[in-house]
């Protein structure tokens, strides 16, 4: 799209090109207008170039004092002619294009050019008798000198264009604000640290370092003790196993199960009669030498219970 536009520009080489064609790539209507006006403008251009000298001669002879009256009826065709001349003379058929350019300089320059080219057109019409055109044109030029952004446009369009401009600006502002708000929400909570180490961070690093040191010391203890032992030898494998188990139980013993159970296991032998508290702990067996007469049946029951106990 852009290269097409550039080609178009190179082709139609017209004087100082401070305005870029095709800035608004948008509307179809605009493009069509351009296409339509293209052939007509080229025709017009040829005519004026040919009769340049004739026009200049007529301009010298022209006396403006003679024709002062305004002809109302001839205004209609003059409007259209004016349009065509403007399009011809380097201002572009798109009035919207004019809005986007900045600077009155462009307007003034091209107006100057227009003036030159149009004067020749004027003189032609002047000699033909379109005084009204001359007067109308001069009036417009006086008026449009004051305008800044809009440039020479038809009066009917001025208000609309002004409104459109204002609308677009308002839209842009609203969009910009919406984008800013969105950006703020996206960045919410994102904090870039200004200084790398402040006191809080130092504390945290200290805590983490302590943890690592503890771990490394534990690893060293465990691995250093194991260093001499080779896991392939069966004797050492047993030692390894024992160490691991001890470590495991010692870790557990920190919070949960008591190591007492272990101890009691080792101390008390497995066979009941070997225990020191044999026959004393069991309440039935305790008084075995006391009530024998009355509770023979019970004794028997107790004895039988005792047998199973012994086994």
């Amino acid at each position: 799209m852009s290269t097409g536009e550039e080609g178009h520009m190179a082709m139609a080489d017209r004087g100082s090109r401070k305005r870029r064609f095709g800035v608004k790539k948008g509307t179809k209507a605009a493009r069509n207008k351009k296409l339509k006006s293209k052939p007509s403008s080229s025709d017009r251009f040829k005519v004026t170039m040919k009769n340049q000298k004739l026009f200049q001669k007529r301009a010298r002879d022209y006396n403006s004092d003679e024709e002062e009256e305004e002809d109302e009826s001839k205004k209609q065709p003059e409007v259209t002619i004016r349009e065509k001349i403007f399009s011809d003379a380097n201002m572009g058929p798109n009035y919207e294009e004019i809005e986007e350019e900045d600077g009155e300089d462009n307007d003034e320059n091209s107006d100057g050019e227009d003036h030159g080219e149009i004067e020749s057109g004027i003189t032609k019409f002047a000699t033909d008798g379109c005084n009204a055109f001359k007067i109308a044109f001069k009036a417009i030029m006086k008026k449009t000198k004051g305008d800044d952004t809009l440039g020479p446009v038809l009066s009917a369009h001025k208000h609309l264009i002004g409104e459109k401009l204002a609308e677009e600006e308002a839209e842009k502002k609203a969009k910009g604000q919406a984008r800013k708000a969105k950006h703020l929400i996206a960045e919410k909570g994102h904090v870039k640290p200004e200084s790398y180490l402040d006191s809080h961070e130092k504390i945290l690093i200290g805590v983490a370092t302590k943890g690592v040191v503890k771990l490394f010391n534990a690893v060293n203890k465990a691995q250093h003790a194991q260093k001499g032992l080779n896991p392939s030898r069966s004797k050492d494998a047993k030692v390894l196993k024992k160490r691991r188990k001890e470590a495991f139980f010692s870790e557990l013993g920190k919070t949960k199960t008591d190591p007492k159970a272990q101890k009691s296991e080792e101390e008390a032998p497995a066979w009941a009669p070997l225990r020191d508290n044999y026959m004393l702990a069991n309440p039935k067996l305790k008084d075995w030498d006391k009530n024998q007469e009355t509770k023979e049946g019970d004794d028997f029951a107790a004895m039988s219970g005792d047998e199973s106990y012994e086994d």
């Binding site: 870039k192 302590k210 943890g211 771990l215 690893v219």
Partner: protein
């Protein structure tokens, strides 16, 4: 009779493609290695996407680094995939207009912890703020260690958080672990007053202690020193350089290594442990605990109504039975391997 030559055209040579299968079960401890997915179910704005990437790098190597999620994927899809792949944890980021939240969940129907992230910093921000950012090549080849501090053992939801984080990273066995594989550290520090959890990610570096700075730098960097102003090499070696400020701090952090670690740190000499921050930095607050995977009854909620407490208390008691069993199992394996339990008791 001629010998039939092996026609190379017809013989198909099959080269075995070495398949890089991640082990599911650790050879050392015999437990399942926990794997994780870090994703989000909505479109995230710029910096939050980077945070997600940073979290993925943090969880390496047992995570999907280039996981791609589509808009139409639901949680159900992720659950279905996680089964055969052995993924045990989900970390989900989500951003709303008011808050950014991280949900840590255990698959397939485990509890879900919801954290609200108050502040975060990206890994790139931290690297920019440092003078000498450090990232050695094989930093992310082994899983990080985890240090939890300040959580205490009283409150239920904090206990649950502790267990959850301990289980996200694979346990290490102190008898067989190689110190060269412990290169990263994740710190979670709970502050009782503000109820905020600080999340930091460090890289571990060991430096020999007791060696003058110049010699140490010379050995480490292989840079030929400038000897212009010296008369003799002995000047270079014996010159008393001014001690750095952190010499005093290093006293507490010295460790005697059991084996050689690289060229510089020899075994049975003292080395200092130095941590440098990499990776994202987050300040978060535990907001909600749910018993299902993003569903189910709410066990704990920061903004709970007083009325709803009684019903929830009953549910809590039911959960306590399950959780205690969980605790026992995981505490055993936790204490065998990882080291942070010591921290819990010290830092309280």
């Amino acid at each position: 009779m001629g010998r039939f030559k092996n026609n190379k055209k017809s013989r198909v040579i099959v080269k075995p493609i070495p398949k890089k299968n991640q082990e599911d079960v650790s050879h050392v401890t015999g437990d399942k290695i926990p794997k994780s997915f870090v994703f989000s179910r909505m479109k995230l704005p710029g910096p939050v996407k980077q945070l997600q990437m940073d979290l993925r790098k943090l969880m390496l190597p047992y995570t999907a680094l280039s996981l791609k999620e589509k808009k139409r994927n639901t949680l159900r899809d992720f659950l279905n995939v996680s089964g055969p792949m052995g993924v045990t944890h989900f970390l989900m980021l989500s951003k709303t207009a008011s808050s950014l939240s991280l949900r840590v969940a255990r698959t397939p129907q485990g509890p879900t912890l919801t954290f609200k992230i108050h502040q975060y910093s990206l890994a790139s921000d931290i690297a920019q703020s440092q003078l000498r950012p450090r990232c050695p090549q094989d930093l992310f080849k082994s899983p990080p260690l985890i240090v939890l501090s300040g959580f205490g053992s009283q409150e239920l939801h904090l206990k649950l958080a502790t267990i959850m984080f301990q289980n996200i990273f694979p346990a290490i066995d102190i008898n067989t672990v190689k110190l060269s594989t412990c290169q990263r550290l994740v710190l979670l520090n709970y502050n009782k007053d503000t109820k905020l959890i600080d999340f930091r990610h460090y890289s571990i570096r060991l430096q020999p202690v007791g060696v003058s700075r110049r010699i140490r730098k010379f050995v480490q960097n292989h840079q030929v020193p400038d000897l212009r102003n010296l008369q003799d090499v002995s000047d270079f070696v014996t010159k008393a350089g001014y001690g750095s400020e952190s010499e005093g701090d290093e006293e507490a952090a010295t460790v005697t290594l059991s084996s050689d670690l690289g060229r510089v740190n020899k075994g049975s000499t003292k080395s200092a442990v130095k941590l440098q921050e990499i990776g994202p930095r987050m300040t978060m607050q535990l907001v909600k605990v749910e018993e299902g995977l993003c569903t189910g009854g709410i066990i704990f909620s920061e903004y709970e109504n007083v009325d709803g407490k009684k019903e929830k208390l009953k549910k809590k008691q039911d959960e306590e039975g399950d959780e205690e069993e969980e605790e026992e199992d995981s505490e055993e394996e936790g204490e065998e391997g990882s080291e942070e339990d010591g921290e819990d008791m010290d830092e309280d």
